[in-house]
Amino acid sequence: MEIHDRVAGEVTIVQLDGNLDTNTAPDAQAHFDGLADGGHTLIVVDFGTLNYISSAGLRVLLATAKKLKGMGGQLRMFGLNDTVHEVFEISGFSTIFSVFATEAEALEGF
């Protein structure tokens, strides 16, 4: 999996490319931790190129969301494919994460 960061004002947009599973989760966790520790507490995750997310991936996102919240920041996401969207909706995580349809919507109101 590849991770690309873009900056839009105070917000860091993290694009996840590939699969977020047990193998790639530690890298992703380290990446998010690095951003948070560097003071980037407003993060938007771009799911547009993410194929698959496993429980390990969920764990990374939940832990990051919790951490950012504790620091007064926020984790938002957009571009979820149908499968991921369904998992988020049915499991109820869409209420924790603030899920948006497009990047513009996600960036609005930060």
Binding site: L58, R59, K66, E86, E89, G92
Partner: protein
Amino acid sequence: MIPEESPFRARWDLLIAILVVVTGLVIPFQVAFVRGVGVWGSILVYGLDLFFLLDIRFNSRTTFREHGLEVRDPKRIARRYRRGMLPWDLLSTVPFDLLLLPWAHLALGGLPVVLLLRLLRLGRVIRLQVILRRWQRSRSTNTGYVRITRLLMVVFLLVHWVACGWFAIAVVEGLSADSWVARAGLADLGIGQQYLRSVYWSFVTTTTVGYGDIVPIGTLETAFAIVVMVVGASMYALIIGSVASLVSSIDSSKTAFWNRVEGVNQYLRGRDLPPDLTEQIQNYYDYIWDRYRGVSAPALLKDLPEPIRLEVLFHLTKELIEKVPLFRHTGPALRNALLMALEPQVHVPGSYVVREGERANGIYFVSRGTLEITAGPQSTSHGTLEPGAYFGDLSLLLGERRTASVRALSYSDVFLLPAREFDRLKSEYEEFKEVLKVISSEKTEKMAELVIEGVIL
């Protein structure tokens, strides 16, 4: 019109049943032992007649069931009664003997004709059959008790009749020195003594004990004794058979259940199971009996047509419906589909509902009891699940193996929505996903914590 299953009809039936037995006791006793048309005896008999005349009136207005439907048309009710029981009821109720009262002294073989004519009233026992059938059908009475009542009535009436008949034989023989009454030295004793000895002979003979202290000598006595022996032997068989089947049928569900448990126990006994497992099995059955009276709901429900099954399920799972958030947000159609799809499970303390490493098989809803989430080799606790909680959704949605186990801490009732049913409902009911979304938001915080801890259920 009187509904067949009305409380009034039930109470009246009970009264009539008692009066039939009284009739069956009084009339033969008057014929054999009293042998006189006394005032009080007559008042009693005609007083009883009034009740039975009233009964005829009620019977001709009592609804009946045909092809499962209650017939309420008065004409059909009357016609059915006219063609069925009415002739019998009239014959056993109309006091024909009143016509002969002026000739009350007329006797046949020493027995007053008026009294002999009163024997027609014994035909009333037929009404018992109708009443008992009604009792047997009514839901509130245990058929076992109805059968016991019938058995007791048959036995006591029969013994009484045989006793009266046995004494009447002696009377017909003129209570001569050859009659059994004279030989037993009863001729000059009071009615009470005479009746007691007659009943004694009746019991000794019908139960096939046959001490032989009172024996038939004359032709009439011998013939009567033969008939009593034949009847007695049949009655004996009836009693033995009935009592045996009664004992088991009084609580047939209990017997069937514990027989099944005994079967399981016998199977396990020879297989050297660890004692605590055996005890767990025993506890499971105890609980099942305690909570469900041994009736396995799915088996029972399979027989029922779908609408009734839904009604029953709705009532059985009322507790669940009130507690599980899932049902609070579903419409009637989805709720029914869910009820039909859910599989009830019972877990004893210490037993595992799901285990770490298993593949998802569905979503579990807790309806009763407390369950604990444990994970890892040390079985580290990750909190408990109370009634209303559910689990199993995440591993199902993600298609992953569980990373934790759920163990019952107390006796627990859970309902499983199997994976295939979950998929079916999801595709058939658009509403289902929305409902899941709503209810999952109610438990997200706790679930998020669990996921962060690495617990996937």
